[in-house]
């Protein structure tokens, strides 16, 4: 056999995942690597009740094929919530239920990208977006993130130089950096984008998970139909149900529906019915309030352990929501090299390289705090601090 693969397959960037998995297999290892929500927050009993109700009352329909666009009552719920929580008015016809918001990225890539098209992403960027888009062989151009959001000066230049079809961003508690665009940064970004045909892809998986400060306006507030929103139930209900959505204006929705049919026909309809039933019969807001409180606690444990144990030279972001911290080592130090030191201490993270296009041996790393309790977080950070100290003393002398 001599399979002839597509070009992108031969060019795909290695993600270091295998190395991480090898260390993670050790039961002694403490992992800050993945973005798993804490399973203690899954509403298991409530979902059990919802599944019973759906199957007893409506089993024949819930187990059958259904529309490519998704369960209408669930789309109505999402539309109502946009209005209630963000003041955005959208029609349920502008919402498509996807297999996690990851599928939203695939569908967007499919309907927009020809080989060589320019796409703006953040630097660092969500690794799953880089992977999803790479299939279509665009030119990914990254714009640096600053403490207050995207670098609007460089954004402006890139828009003029590349006339990109899309600008993909995570304005709230970004993955991997934890950075949130300030109100001023959003306004400035919108002002710059207004003069371009570039569609802003606002990926917002963590938007409901703010535990400090006030919610900020969606970019759709400023740019209306030039924005596609992506959302997810993975962090507010449970990720194993694989339910996310795309919110896009009708002209784009029409094309997304064609791509959806070719991709998997429709999203798991049983799960759509179960989650909708769960949302009808329970107080989603108070459940999310509980998740926020838990996240805040975990984030605080990690930050205070870092403040106590990390050397001063290590920078760290202090997110107001979401699930990730982003750490920067002194210039010239590679977090891939640090990974070997950390592996010896049985603690793991994702080295920054995964979140850049064509950059190697970067000095950044991503830390997740949702998978662990107080004790594990403290112990893991202690181990990581030990690894950092060892690494820096080997390197800097």
């Amino acid at each position: 056999m001599n399979p002839r693969f597509a070009d992108w397959v031969n060019n795909v960037q290695e993600t270091f995942v295998r190395e991480i998995l090898k260390v993670a297999a050790n039961p002694q290892a403490i992992s800050f690597a993945w973005g798993f929500p804490n399973p203690s927050s899954f509403p298991i009993q409530e979902l059990q009740n919802a599944a019973q109700k759906v199957l007893s009352e409506n089993g024949r329909s819930a187990l059958q094929y259904s529309s490519a666009q998704g369960h209408l009552p669930l789309r109505q719920y999402i539309a109502n919530r946009y209005l209630e929580k963000k003041g955005i008015k959208v029609d349920p016809g502008e919402i498509l239920i996807t297999s996690g918001s990851q599928q939203g990225l695939d569908l967007i890539g499919k309907i927009f990208l020809n080989k060589g098209d320019n796409v703006l992403i953040e630097r660092p960027a969500y690794v799953g977006a880089i992977l999803a888009f790479s299939v279509f062989e665009p030119q990914l151009r990254s714009i640096p993130l600053l403490d207050d959001g995207i670098d609007t000066g460089l954004l402006n230049e890139a828009l003029k130089e590349y006339n990109p079809k899309l600008f993909y961003a995570v304005p709230n508690f970004q993955n991997p950096s934890g950075i949130t665009y300030t109100r001023e940064n959003r306004e400035k970004t919108a002002e710059i984008l207004e003069n371009h045909d570039t569609i802003f892809i606002e990926d917002d998986p963590y938007g409901e998970l703010r535990f400090i400060g006030q919610d900020l306006p969606s970019m759709k507030t400023y740019l209306a139909d030039n924005v596609i929103l992506l959302g997810s139930f993975s962090k507010t209900v449970a990720p194993g149900l694989r339910l996310g959505w795309i919110c896009a204006p009708p002209q784009i929705m029409e094309k997304l529906l064609i791509a959806k049919q070719g991709s998997d026909m429709l999203t798991n309809y049983f799960s759509q019915c179960v989650v909708h039933q769960y949302l009808m019969d329970n107080d989603a807001d108070s459940h999310i309030e509980g998740i926020r409180a838990l996240l805040k606690e975990q984030r605080d444990f990690m930050l205070s352990a870092i403040d106590e144990h990390f050397p001063e030279e290590i920078e760290i972001t202090r997110p107001e929501g979401g699930i990730f911290l982003w750490s920067t080592l002194p210039e010239g130090l590679s977090s891939v090299e640090l990974f070997s030191y950390a592996a010896k201490e049985n603690v793991i993270f994702v080295p920054g390289d995964a979140f850049y296009v064509n950059m190697k041996n970067t000095n950044t790393l991503r830390l997740n705090y949702t998978g662990s309790n107080e004790e594990t977080i403290k112990e893991g950070i202690k181990r990581l601090a030990k690894a950092i100290n060892q690494f820096m003393s080997d390197k800097i002398i």
Copy 2:
């Protein structure tokens, strides 16, 4: 807003689905259009029990993220069943759980196809495969189906002329034609393919649904690692759970896993656990036996109504399994035109055009018998016969 779509989007073939849906909205309409399984065969109570067990015993894990490749026990079940039912030995590592077998087509398109690559399909071909592959802009070359399978003479020529990367086929109870490749046709096809690097994609959603005659060998029996198998639980358990799989050799699996992560990270893990639990706690074979008996009955009702009411000039396939019949009108008559006559009589089908690339006003149509009971089938066929007679007398005089 002026969205700049990818080229394929602007070239995508209209599927006539909207026209069909318009007529289907009339509650008086009898539909032979879709390939929906009969919901009376869904094991609702058994799935309810399985869902309870999974959530009570293992809720935290079943609702969490999991591996891109899918639930190992479910992959072991599928591997065992290949051995038991088809004598094919595969490792669970060669199986990837997908969001319906439709997603298998998308992933295969992703990892193999560059723009312009040659792909062989059947004529007529499964419309979902045409759509899935079209995203990647291959040259789809169709090889006619004959009563006993693919036209091996033309297949041989096409392989030499186009050196295609893939040959996509549904050898058992093909969608849309209901045709099954005979043993001799399989052997001849394998012999021809042996000398080429073309990968045979064997899509087998109906393989377990044979109600007449003996099962025939999978093409993997002859061509080993040059075959990728696609399977599905949609017709043997329930389609709303969106569970299918790809079986591919390790060298290809490695690439499929990368594409899977970019597409939706993993398939709905909760549903994977539920279906596995269902398969462990119940006799899947006797359930499938029941589905087969029901299908045979429905198929017989439809064929005998056709024999009674259709004019002699209309040809019809007599499938040994699966869910579709394929009807051919006298040459020169368009089934799209017939559709308007049928719509007036409140009966619908899918005109053949949907199943061809770049062919219009073909004289073929697809009929599904699984959605209806005896009475509806008889009434629907009577109506369709009336429409055909009217159409032919308007046209042929």
